[in-house]
Subunit: 333 residues, 2 copies
């Protein structure tokens, strides 16, 4: 295992020191609870958004804390759910009196711990908490850590769009409605060229022979749909586009697209894949109105990529274009 770390047990704690040093203008860090807060949290009168999950998916979630996105992100150990006390601390801290939304990727541990935190925050401090679960991965039903579909790339879109709705002053019900609309209108599919190594494990999560890829990979290396020989990018783009557009109709609406890197794939390859994906979408009459190409929800140093498409509308496009000021997404300000 070759990693830029001090010790497998202190990876998250040490990385949070770097986040704090790099972005004092955007965030502050509660090292005891391992929570990254928007610098000016709580924002009185604004619906607050919290997410979190296992670390190792950066910039998700800590890189999306800031104006126009999240109010807090709870960092679990690598590929391990944060604990309820982290989410409870975050929920109480960000509450500005207008309620708090928990954005939770559909993994059993995350769901359970966020649920417990929501109950405690309500009981202890009377915070009005609503939960939105993301489950956009079309690859598999049920998986290693999940009942039902896994939550992956659409989580980035939920955080941006619901975050913009909250920033615009919409109330808790309206923000939750946007978050649910985005999850229901988004689908993802990924593939891996290599495994990744969890620091505490010290060896690759799975073996993927030279010349083979795994289609439908999960962001923790959970098994996908099948393995097949490595193929040209044009054929691999088809493996991503087909299951996504077979699952939901993306024609007749403006689409927001993300071609996401898993962490170890160079940007030149991600752009190349995005070029192939857009050819296939155009041929199917699908119009991309906005796009992201880069590393947004990663799996440590895994090589590979995922595609997320969102069936948008004028309101979502306007929320997309609204200013955002985070380490991972920044525009309009």
């Amino acid at each position: 295992m070759k990693k830029l770390i001090n010790d497998p047990t202190s990876v998250v704690a040490d990385a949070l020191l770097g986040v704090e040093a790099a972005h004092p203008d955007l965030v502050r860090v509660d090292h005891e609870h391992q929570v990254i807060y928007r610098a000016d949290a709580p924002v009185q009168g604004k619906v607050a958004l919290i997410s979190g999950g296992g670390s190792g998916h950066e910039p998700l979630h800590g890189g999306f804390v800031g104006r126009g996105m999240l109010d807090a992100a709870c960092a679990g150990q690598v590929f391990t759910s944060p604990t309820p006390d982290q989410m409870l601390a975050a929920t109480k801290t960000v509450d500005g009196g207008a309620g708090v939304v928990h954005i939770v990727k559909n993994y059993t541990g995350d769901i359970m711990n966020f649920e417990m935190a929501a109950e405690l925050a309500s009981a202890e401090a009377g915070v009005d908490v609503a939960t939105v679960i993301t489950n956009d991965d079309v690859a598999v039903q049920d998986s290693l850590y999940t009942a039902g579909r896994r939550g992956v790339g659409v989580t980035v879109f939920v955080e941006k769009l619901a975050g913009a709705a909250a920033e615009a002053g919409r109330d808790l019900d309206a923000v939750v409605a946007i978050a649910k609309q985005v999850n229901e209108s988004g689908r993802s599919m990924g593939l891996a060229l290599t495994s990744c190594t969890v620091p505490a494990a010290g060896k690759p999560t799975f073996d993927l022979p030279e010349g083979e890829i795994e289609v439908g990979i999960g962001i923790h290396g959970e098994p996908g749909r099948f393995r097949k020989p490595l193929a040209p990018a044009s054929a691999l783009a088809e493996e991503l586009v087909t299951p996504v557009v077979d699952d939901l109709d993306f024609t007749g609406a403006p689409v927001i697209a993300m071609l996401n890197g898993m962490g170890g794939t160079p940007l030149i390859e991600l752009y190349l894949m995005y070029g192939e994906v857009t050819k296939l979408l155009t041929a199917r009459g699908i119009t991309v109105a906005r796009s992201l190409v880069g590393n947004y929800i990663t799996s440590l140093e895994m090589a590979g990529c995922s595609l997320t498409l969102l069936r948008a509308d004028d309101d979502l496009l306007s929320l997309w274009d609204a200013p955002v000021l985070t380490a991972g997404l920044r525009w309009g300000v």
Copy 2:
């Protein structure tokens, strides 16, 4: 070799299709010459900035084309200088009557080809071309493709800061002066945990045994200073900071710092390294005023990182904070 490509010979051409599809609002692409232009180039009356070099370092340079940075980037084949005809076409196209600056990393092929293009642009079209060479890498004097120091991370700072000066309406001499000041005030040092594979070569550029790292690596895998066993991040940070601060005094001025990923290292490790670096800088009385942590000048999927420090002043900080609208750096707009 596992890569998301169609064919080793068409990697750059195919990736440029993706760049064009992803950023129609920011850039346009001349596929014949493989040049990425700022969408509204030429900007009349503004000094224009061009850079370029071998591909495989993305987002450098194409990701830094746009308002407040470059007017054009010439994409060579992977790790291979662009040809003079690419730079000539770019120089003529972006000239808005106020002169053109060529920002050239110090590699023999790049220098030679940019020089030829400058002479031709002057002779054929009377364009006033000035050249600024970056050579900030303290690792080695002379190298595989270089006489003198290699140009690396400071190139990102030159493009941002001279780009802001040009955008603010400064004239050719003033923009060149900023670019030279930035190069002279910046130093870099990198290290690699793994090699990378050039698509046309099909095998890793060099071998780096399990448990060893190369300190002072070049961005094309050129040899560094020495190899040593992998060590904790705190010790590796010392390997970066010491040679940089030994080469130039960074105390008593605001510093702009970049902890850059080589392409295959996860963001969580880059933040962790940045945390270690800032501890060392603070102990030496060096004050970081602005920072970047992420992949900015990469070496395909190489694992590793580099540190660049810039001794800034109030003018440079103000140019740093000026709006920038590119795929790779975006703020204030």
